[in-house]
Point group: C2
Chain length 316, copies 2
């Protein structure tokens, strides 16, 4: 273990902490896919997780790590995506409030979802600066504690539990592929593989339209994305200073995929597996379909990160 990284024990503790609240998600397989790619592919289905995404794991771990007094004042974040829903849900379940700062141009579907989980929304201008200053104000006014979507060790340890479950259930994986946005899921996955299945390589897949992780990994220094436009909306964020060092140390490689192949992979998974996955979730499989990752003869785990899509606005 490197100083500052969540240890194996911290990840195991996180799993024990969140177990009563989250779903132990299923691992599913497809004979057709296996035949097609001459491999054994195991899909770890976080689309079946609470709130429809792995984010429920990290949010629950963060919320449940707070002492009673802190928890009482509530939690806060700025997010227009799954973390907003996950934090609102985790807070409500723990009997406290979640203050969510959302850009004014957030999709109505996502606003309704956060409200549905009891989140208290403050709208702001759709810029990173406005989001951060508004969140600052909300935190000052309410005394709520900020829970960052990924650059937080409690979040990383929480997200690591998905790979922990996968590794425990499916032995001798040659590889786990995870999508990368801010790096919470990827860094957690890499740590779990390193601690609990040292023979398993972790590979990241990223949209070429939001390739900050690919570039940072290559340069060895953090290069943020500037206003990326990928359809994989969960992956538009840039790596953080807590997630990047873990990724640099424990991820085998990062590959990028085109927008077209993300949409094809998503549709292919819907058609063949009969499960709803969001564009971000299709990115690892797109990397296989594009032959960016060689899975021939291998046992491969894929983290299906979530299934929250707007069914009235599908990308095909």
């Amino acid at each position: 273990m490197t100083a500052g990284f969540p240890s194996a024990e911290i990840i195991r503790d996180a799993h024990e902490r969140i177990k009563p609240y989250i779903n132990h998600t299923p691992v599913i397989v497809s004979a057709t896919m296996d035949r097609m790619f001459n491999s054994h592919i195991f899909f770890k289905c976080e689309n079946f997780q609470k709130v429809g995404a792995f984010k429920a794991r990290g949010a629950t771990n963060a919320v449940r790590s707070l002492d009673t007094e802190t928890l009482r004042k509530g939690v806060a974040t700025h997010s227009s995506g799954n973390h907003a829903q996950a934090l609102a849900w985790a807070a409500a379940l723990a009997g406290t409030k979640a203050f969510i700062v959302m850009p004014s141009n957030s999709s109505p579907v996502k606003i309704e979802a956060v409200k549905g989980y009891g989140g208290i929304i403050t709208f702001c201008e759709p810029t990173l600066e406005a989001r951060e200053t508004t969140l600052q104000k909300v935190v000052e006014e309410t005394g709520a504690v900020e829970i960052h979507p990924y650059n937080d060790l409690r979040i990383i340890a929480g997200q690591a539990t998905s790979a922990l479950e996968l590794i425990t259930e499916i032995e001798k994986l040659d590889m786990i592929i995870a999508p990368v946005g801010g790096g919470g899921l990827l860094s957690g996955t890499a740590l779990s593989a390193f601690y609990f299945s040292p023979g398993t390589v972790v590979v990241a897949a990223e949209p070429v339209m939001a390739d900050d992780a690919f570039r940072s990994f290559k340069l060895g220094t953090l290069v943020p994305s500037v206003n990326p436009q990928t359809i994989a909306d969960g992956l538009r964020t840039s790596l953080g200073d807590l997630t990047f060092p873990i990724i640099k140390k424990h991820v085998g490689s990062i590959v990028t995929v085109s927008e077209e192949s993300i949409v094809s992979a998503m549709k292919f998974i819907w058609e063949r597996m009969k499960i709803i996955v969001e564009p971000s979730s299709a990115v690892p499989f797109a990397a296989i379909m594009e032959h960016r990752i060689n899975v021939d003869g291998k046992r491969v785990g894929i983290i299906i990160s979530g299934g929250n899509v707007d069914l009235d606005n599908l990308p095909w």
Copy 2:
């Protein structure tokens, strides 16, 4: 057991016969759904079955029941739906041919699917008469044996194995709801409940636009549908003279649902459960949403019959 109905032993034998080839499909639950309807709902997911529908069970049982000499000549049917795919798949897996008569206006997606499983297609005019005479000709020319989509005791016994698995896994169900088209799935489900879980009532749900089972059940005599137009394309067929007597004797009640509620239920299941179900599969849940069936405080099984949809032509 009534003379002419598949016995408990025949259904158990069918299960043993098809087990090596079919998927033991998962049963999934949703805390949200349970809270919403104050019940425990167990979804038996035949959308995760081979070829994406329960039809793989009956087709496999029928094909694997044939003696070697008969099997060698192949099997035949007329169908534009899941039975066509299932029979093509089951035949190929058993090393024989499937001759499929399809109406010339079948959707390209379905034609491709049948071809993909190795089915040998003969096209005909899109009328029942043309389908039957063309099939007759194909059977005469090839010596293949006809496997009817539902009015066949081997098919009924095969379809019964889905409820058998559900009942074995989930105890003390108050009710199982299944959709009804030709009645293969429904009659099989009713027999399995009767033999293996006598306290469980079987209720059928049917589109009001294709309500031949509802009317036949009420009148006590077979009344076929005439050119029904429901979106639930798997349920446009009429009951057969083998399925109807079983349904009359062993089904508790039949309820009907509107087209609008089928689409709402389908979309609701996609959004909340993150699984792809076809319109026919959403009919039982539509009956719950429309309050046609009271599930308050009950343990309810629902057979999700399949997940084959054309993603480019969704009904919303």
